[in-house]
Amino acid sequence: MVELETFGEPRRRPTAATVVAYVLLTLGTVVMFFPFVWMLLSAFKPIREIFQLTLLPHTWTLDNFRQVLFQTAFPRWFLNSLVVAAISTVSVLFFCSLVGYTLTRLRFPGRDLVFLIILSTLMVPTEMLVIPWYVMSTQYGWVNTYWGLAFPGLIPAFGVFLMRQFFQTLPRDLFDAGRVDGVSEFGLFWRIGLPLVRPGLAALGIFNFVGNWNAFLWPLIIAKSASMRTVPVGVALFSGEASTAWNLIMAASALAIVPVLLVFFVFQRQIIEGVVLTGVKG
């Protein structure tokens, strides 16, 4: 087995093309980052200033954060979101890759049909599943529990699809060689397949985390007590009948996403680049 260098690091010295790339990326930054920065800066403004169209606050204040952290149950919402996201991420990483692997690397009758059935579950809007889910949850006592919050997202079809595509890029010989060496079927998946799709796995992890972080309708319905609310459900409380506390929404949004973005920033090498080993006989 040979370690192959991938497209990861360009060797060339800066050329005209690189300069163009920097210019384009910098221009794009304005478009991509401006709304985010505005949101972030708004979190430091008193409510009146939020409505004034200045980017920088005249008076910087931490009141919004103070209010969100100490006068609402935000820490609890955050914890709940974290628990749900953690539960589901573990399940998603394992099951989606296992199913994705099975659908590409194992031959069995009905493989395409199974894939299509799994994919088709993506095509029914979850909004229409909440009523049956809730009926089910009351029957099994899942209402107001972490399990109840998490179960719909444990094996998302999109994750299966993603991992299937990543396993497709791996050469078949690799697994046949493993089989000849007497590696068990689970071992082929766990020890040979999985390490090779780490970039996909990491991307799936972050997507799933963000998806859970923003899920609204189901967490709203399944959480009956205030102590089981997640961040998006809690933040919805800032919109009342007669007014919306945009200062608090901005502060809560900032508090909720900055950690996610930081995790992404710090671990992006692992998330995107991983260390890609493409084993080829040679």
Binding site: M39, P125, W133, F161
Partner: protein, 340 residues
């Protein structure tokens, strides 16, 4: 009475202790071996799929069938009082002008959003890949819209699009002033209504969707690009391929699985577009004049603001059929191109 072999009581079949003809073990081992080659893999596949398929059957497919069943009934909170209507709601669908509008809009959204995301997502990923310094920072910045909560996104874009206060119109006015002063008044562009204009509202919302989902696409493509062995580029370079040719004949084919994923997922997501549309015009969702209405939003309004859950379920079935058809076509067209 004849018994089938597997019904035979254990005690009456001491096969293992029975004397065998000399050639028997050989044949049976060969048979087992033959069986294992083709079937062992399949058995393992089913073992791996057992739990996930049970999950899908129980928590996704069964509820979906229940939901489809609701489309044949007049909705009532008490299941015993749901009266069977047959296909009445489906007949109603055919003549529902609001649904027709939602359908057209939804397809239009997909036509704008999916190609834009593919091209921009891939383009940005390639650009990011070609720079070394500041790359982590650029990546985080391009990813940031994807993690921003929908409410905050809607607020910020609502202001940017604002006719009377928004930055876009401020820029247009400044531009027009500038060119007028240069004596090029014909180059000036009047302020636009954006979200308030029934003609511009849909593209304006679509732009927000592309903006927000771009981070997702970029990460997918970056991960895909990482998997392309450098060896292939070097080989192509030696063969005298220029940068474009390398991209066209090396990168694109090897990225195919990732692109298939990207296109299909963003199509499925866009055909179910809901969040951004609701939030950006919260008091006239899908407005003005249904200009931004999507099928998913119409379904949601029917179910949860008007309690017409039976009819909403019929809309869901329609949406499901639409997405399934489009996805099957895409899988056909896109997957065939490349052999693995």
């Amino acid at each position: 009475m004849r018994r089938r072999p597997h019904d035979a009581p254990r005690s009456s079949a001491p096969r293992s202790s029975a004397p065998r003809p000399p050639d028997a073990p050989d044949r049976s081992r060969r048979r087992r071996r033959a069986l294992s080659l083709s079937t062992r893999e399949a058995i393992w596949a089913y073992v791996f799929l057992l739990l996930p398929l049970a999950f899908y059957a129980f928590l996704r497919i069964y509820p979906a069938i229940q939901s489809f069943d609701l489309s044949l009934h007049r909705w009532h909170v008490d299941p015993a009082q749901r009266t069977f209507l047959g296909l009445a709601y489906y007949r109603e669908l055919i003549g529902d002008p609001k649904l027709h509008r939602a359908l057209t809009n939804t397809l239009l959204y997909a036509a704008i959003v999916v190609p834009s995301q593919l091209v921009l997502g891939l383009g940005i990923a390639v650009l990011l890949q070609s720079v070394r310094r500041l790359r982590p920072l650029f990546r985080a910045i391009y990813f940031s819209p994807y993690v921003t909560p929908a409410a905050a996104v809607a607020w910020v874009w609502g202001w940017m699009y604002s006719v009377n206060f928004g930055v876009f119109n401020t820029a247009l006015i400044a531009w027009s002033d500038f060119v007028t002063r240069l004596g090029l008044a014909w180059l000036s562009i009047p302020p636009q209504a954006f979200l308030s204009d029934p003609k511009q509202a849909l593209p304006s919302v679509a732009a927000v969707v592309v903006w927000q989902q771009l981070g997702f696409q970029v990460v997918i493509f970056l991960a895909g690009l990482q998997g392309v062995p450098r060896m292939f580029y070097d080989a192509a370079a030696i063969d005298g391929a220029n940068a474009f040719q390398r991209f066209r004949f090396v990168t694109l084919p090897l990225l195919n699985p990732v692109m298939v994923f990207s296109v299909i997922i963003s199509t499925i997501a866009t055909l179910q577009l809901f969040d951004q549309v609701v939030n950006i015009n919260f008091t006239d969702q899908g407005g003005p004049l249904n200009a931004t209405l999507t099928i998913a939003l119409y379904m949601y309004q029917l179910a949860f603001s008007r309690f017409q859950i039976g009819y909403a379920s019929a809309v869901t079935v329609l949406l499901f059929v639409l997405i399934l058809t489009v996805t099957l076509i895409q899988l056909r067209l896109l997957q065939r191109r490349v052999e693995y």
